[in-house]
Assembly symmetry: C2
Homo-oligomer: 297 residues x 2
């Protein structure tokens, strides 16, 4: 008896006759994709969080969808406003949130203090490389932009979905839209009811465990750390483009307009490998995750 839930390809050993070639997984398809299928992520769009314990989380910013909020975030990062930033909220099956735990700090100089509600836009305004053929609980139409983002909508309007690892801007009650000084990421089942109610500005593409595996807070029914000593210190939040070239991280995404992308989508809906006996025949939008890879690690 063995137990790892996925005994990857372990079945292939010592078969008496050659087995049919196993159907490739989405990860295998991505790994075999040509270089032309991968697009570079602009280092201006990479926000890194260095924790005091040495761990790093990397966020891919989405300036096309929330330009004012993302411009604010770059300004805040460059201003030093986040020098005392901490993670101060971790609510199980919901969000991890970081920024200014005191809620008292004046906004960073040079930001737009009241950004517009960058929550939705015209369907297709950012292109749709692949229409997703599978049903979605919240949206009648979903797909993937050539720029590498899952989108949801109704054919008229479009928005980013609150999938695992997506990053949004904490806000007060409307009409407040948040400045970008406090951010959160989804650490549980996609809270898609937040879609169109809050600005999404990016996605955690590396080092997610530094945000998702933190102790849960107990304050206010919101996962706030009740004792300031519980807060997780952040050493630096910076834009990758501002780092010396030798230290600058680099990432690529699998382009949804590359032919291989549709195959990876189908592979997520009907999984390959020896483990699955009943194919799902579909996939939730938030179970797709546009593949991302680090360059040169």
């Amino acid at each position: 008896m063995l137990l790892p839930l996925f005994a990857l390809l372990a079945a292939a050993q010592a078969a008496p006759a050659p087995a049919p070639a196993p159907k490739p997984t989405a990860a295998q398809l991505a790994a075999a994709a040509p270089a032309s299928a991968w697009g570079a992520i602009d280092p201006q769009d990479l926000l890194l969080i260095d924790f005091a314990d040495g761990r790093r989380s990397m966020i891919w910013l989405a300036p096309a969808f929330a330009p004012v909020h993302v411009a604010n975030i770059r300004t805040i990062a460059r201003s030093g406003w986040w020098k005392d930033a901490t993670v101060y909220r971790v609510q199980d099956n919901y969000v991890t949130q970081w920024g200014d735990a005191t809620e008292k700090k004046p906004p960073a100089a040079g930001i737009v203090p009241k950004p517009p509600a960058e929550y939705e836009w015209a369907w297709g305004a950012h292109g749709v490389a692949v229409d997703n053929p599978y049903r979605d609980a919240y949206a009648t139409r979903t797909g993937f932009t050539p720029s590498g983002w899952a989108v949801a909508g109704d054919g008229a309007r479009q928005w980013l979905p609150h999938c695992y690892g997506m990053v949004g801007v904490a806000r007060d009650l409307a009409p407040d839209t948040g400045t970008g000084g406090d951010l959160y990421t989804v650490i549980g089942h996609a809270p898609r009811h937040l879609d169109r109610n809050i600005a999404l500005v990016g996605r955690v593409i590396d080092g997610m465990a530094a945000l998702s595996a933190l102790p849960r807070g107990t304050g206010g029914g919101l996962g706030l750390y009740e004792d300031p000593k519980q807060r997780v210190p952040i050493k630096r939040i910076a834009i990758a483009a501002d780092l010396p070239a030798a230290e600058r991280p680099a990432f690529e995404y699998l382009r949804p307009d590359a032919p291989v992308f549709a195959a990876t989508l189908e592979a997520r809906a009907n999984r390959g490998g020896p483990f699955f006996t009943v194919p799902a025949g579909a996939t939730d939008l938030c179970n797709v995750m546009v593949p991302v890879r680090v360059v040169g690690r």
Copy 2:
């Protein structure tokens, strides 16, 4: 500027004219439900995990859906087979798994070594108190049984969905179905592609953070703890009915056949409170979560 993502009801203060009564949330509806809306959970169906650090996770077992696997689990708990059990796998956005990390221990005496594949059954075999009106990415029909479980299916067959906190039986490649000696729970976005491929046997209803907030493992691309010292020791796994009465935990669930349940479902689809400006108009099955409460804490 303030930051808690949900400033619960904070808007109500000092309004110049009386505001309309805010729409109640699902939690408020459940809290106001009459005693008759709550059903007791049989202490034979409560599996508790006591960790060496004093934390406890509580699992509600589902014997109606997987009777042989659940009978095995009770036998294993009572046999002492789990006395050296540890958590040995934590894969981000996927599962936490526990049991016999060595994979070498002979099965517990008295169990059914090869249970049937208790993965699906005839639609409605366990009753459907409430049909869920919202779309589902994986199933054409979903609902809630009077016994308190979300179910997915196609009107002919029915199965339990892999939502956050659901507990399943780790298995080897088919035809293996797992004994119940090694269990996992979902700690990320619902991996519904596992539905009908594996036996689900319960749901974590309390102490989820003791399983979800653990350090992620790095082994085999599966989140296995590579160093045995990383494994999280478990002091005891027991059935609540076997504890002395004074120590026995007790829980209740909101009955899906109680009139209030449909209102809580609608409240999950169109959230009340001052935060939301655009109602979702729908909810993912895995964002509903049948309410459960502890008795007498």
